[in-house]
């Protein structure tokens, strides 16, 4: 309905290089007026297509700040951020919207579903903003909900779903436009262990199907699902290690629960 800006058809860029995410000397400073807070300091980071990455660190270490930059919700103060070959530094707010819409699937700690709106409509939303027609939208949304195990709950409102179910709706929504990147900021932060494992297994599954997944967490158990763990401290990247995913089956999950490991 609305003409796209001609200047930069960002989402149509055919970049198929290996690097999906590339941060170069990225600095983020929060200017609160009275004082300046350093959120991130000179971060250099490359994430390739198909990786499954955990971002870890203590509270206040800059994880969310990084996620906001990676998610094109916020812009770096200095340095560069290339997403799928696009330098995001020079994009207008509406162009960033388009990038988010086509390139990124968000999963938030607090689910962030739109209230009083059915699961189906929530999943359709990114496609609505991508101007996908109603029929195709609905069909794909149903497929996605089925895929996350909510095939019988299309018409449920968010407040009629459990936390784990809500997060699965959010994941279905994140997959709507088949974005190359899935960003999850503490996706299990509000869930019990069993639901957390379910959600992480869903991410593992997506990863196996080729998606690039970046998960922020401060729980080692959660990070254990991933293949690469990047640690931050005081806004600086302090370690970047390979990981061999261990917990994979329901049985082990139950064991883990019995051992008293608890997500808070």
């Amino acid at each position: 309905m609305w003409k796209k800006k001609k200047s930069q058809p960002v989402h149509e860029t055919e970049y198929m290089g290996e690097d999906l995410i590339k941060l170069v000397d990225m600095v983020k400073v929060y200017d609160t007026g009275t004082i300046k807070v350093l959120g991130l300091h000179r971060v250099n980071l490359t994430i390739k297509r198909g990786e499954f990455v955990a971002i870890m660190g203590q509270s206040g270490s800059g994880k969310s700040t990084l996620m906001n930059v990676l998610g094109c919700l916020d812009r770096p103060t200095m340095g560069h951020y290339y997403l799928d070959g696009i330098d995001t530094a020079n994009l207008e707010p509406d162009e960033l919207s388009t990038v988010r819409n086509r390139k990124i699937g968000f999963v938030f700690q607090s689910f962030n579903l739109i209230s009083r709106t059915s699961a189906l409509k929530n999943v359709e939303l990114p496609m609505t903003y991508a101007h996908v027609n109603q029929k195709a939208r609905e069909q794909r949304a149903k497929e996605l909900l089925e895929r996350v195990g909510l095939g019988t709950r299309y018409e449920h409102m968010p407040n009629e779903l459990s936390g784990g179910q809500r997060q699965r709706v959010a994941i279905a929504r994140a997959l709507a436009n088949q974005p190359p990147l899935i960003l999850a900021d503490e996706p299990t932060g509000n869930l019990d262990t069993a639901s957390s494992v379910e959600i992480m297994e869903l991410f593992s599954q997506l990863h196996k199907e080729g998606a690039t997944v970046v998960v922020v967490t401060h729980e080692e158990d959660i990070a254990a699902f991933t293949e690469r763990i990047i640690r931050f401290r005081d806004g600086k990247l302090v370690s970047d290690t390979k990981n061999k995913p261990q917990i994979q089956t329901e049985e082990e999950a139950v064991t883990m629960q019995k051992e008293g490991s608890h997500a808070d």
């Binding site: 609305w2 998610g71 919700l73 509406d94 388009t98 962030n112 609505t128 903003y129």
Partner: protein, 403 residues
């Protein structure tokens, strides 16, 4: 996308039913008031034109009235033979002419008495106004010429006075122009009043009737006034000029001393009064819609603040400034247009109810309804601009963080 926006808007409005209704109240009352006042105005206009249609639009009154406020001269009045001369002179244009004389009094027959108001007419009055004779005959030319004490009485008057509607040949006593004499009933007619005419009747116990206008001449056989009906299609403006000149000449007066007023002029002045009324209604409409619009703006601002997080989510998922802007504009437009529709229902409902109670035909024009709906939608859009642009310009990250 438009459809999507509409369904989202209706969704949001439904989610807060009570608040939406209260918000719409301003618009409902405003539009309701406008619809009812405009419709009452239209109904009145319709009634007046209907009334004139009954009376005839080619009716005119002519008399001498010195423009400098000087005294009337005896020659300024009209005489019966002069009336005949005028009729002859303008026989091509004038269909009917009399002196617009009325007489009110009390008719007595034995122990029965009625109040009456008789209209003095010429014999060809039925040419311009229907008289539904049920017994006897109309006033005849002979009655006029011979100035006979003959009366055509309305049926209920005949019944009250003589105990029967068929009162032909019966006589009653009354005093007209200080002379008490007997009058003969030569005809009885039935009055078919429209509801409006019934409303406008002075009092219910006054009976009507017709009497030769040649009887109502005083003092000294003088007539003050000429009343005439011009032929259908006569241009009253040019005819007025011609007629006034003639009267001025025969009366030895200036043209300015002759007053000529036609129903056409009166209708124009009624229309101008109605026009003034419309302007006043326009003012009321503007104020009430302004108040309603501010109400909508207020609630939309509250809604935008409440839904900051939703706006953040939408933006994170790819909504552009314009998407959010249109979403909220659609919401306020629908809110307002819906209020407008309810207002029309209320206003038109009241008008029809009033019409039903008074037994009147009411006029609610579709054009008025259309204007009201589109105007209220416009109010919604206009007063939605500020809240919507506030929502649209929200920074996604701030909005997502909003508690």
């Amino acid at each position: 996308m438009l459809l999507e926006n509409m369904s989202m808007a209706i969704h949001a409005i439904k989610a807060n039913k009570m608040r939406s209704l209260l918000t719409m109240l301003g618009i409902i009352i405003g539009i309701g008031a406008v619809i009812s006042i405009v419709s009452i105005g239209d109904t009145m206009r319709f009634m007046v034109s209907d009334l004139y249609k009954n009376v005839g639009t080619n009716l005119a009154y002519v008399y001498v009235w010195p423009k400098d406020g000087g005294d009337m001269r005896s020659g300024d009045y009209f005489k019966l033979d002069e009336m005949e001369r005028i009729k002859e002179a303008f026989k091509d244009e004038i269909v009917y002419m009399d002196s617009e004389a009325n007489v009110a009094g009390e008719a007595i027959k034995g122990r029965n008495k009625i109040k009456y108001k008789f209209e003095g007419i010429d014999s060809n009055y039925p040419d311009v106004k229907k008289i539904n004779i049920i017994y006897g005959r109309n006033i005849s030319e002979a009655d006029i010429k011979a100035r006979k004490n003959n009366v055509v009485l309305e049926a209920s008057g005949a019944k009250d006075l003589f105990g029967t509607e068929n009162a032909i040949g019966k006589t009653f006593r009354t005093t007209i122009n200080n002379v008490t004499s007997y009058y003969n009933v030569v005809g009885v007619y039935r009055l078919d009043l429209t509801p409006i005419e019934k409303m406008m009747q002075e009092s219910n116990d006054t009976r009507s009737g017709y009497i030769p206008y040649s009887l109502l001449v005083w003092p000294d056989d003088n007539l003050f006034n000429i009343r005439f009906y011009a032929k259908e299609g006569t241009n009253m403006t040019t005819f007025s000029d011609k007629f006034t000149s003639y009267i001025a000449r025969t009366k030895n007066r200036e043209k300015e001393d002759i007053t000529f007023s036609s129903t056409e002029d009166e209708m124009k002045s009624v229309d101008s009064v109605m026009g003034g009324l419309s302007a006043a209604v326009g003012g009321i409409a503007a104020i009430s819609l302004l108040v309603g619009g501010i109400g909508i703006m207020n609630i939309m601002l509250v809604s935008v603040t409440e839904r900051t997080r939703e706006i953040g989510i939408r933006k994170a998922l790819g909504a552009k400034t314009q998407d959010v802007l249109i979403q909220f504009l659609t919401e306020s437009a629908i809110l307002s247009a819906f209020g407008g529709i309810l207002g029309i229902a209320v206003g038109a409902g009241l008008v029809y109810l009033g019409g039903a109670i008074l037994g009147m035909h009411v006029v609610v024009k579709p054009s008025v309804i259309l204007t009201a709906v589109s105007f209220s939608a416009f109010v919604g859009v206009f007063f939605g601009i500020y809240p919507a642009s506030k929502a649209a310009s929200a920074d996604p990250i701030d909005a997502l963080r909003y508690e």
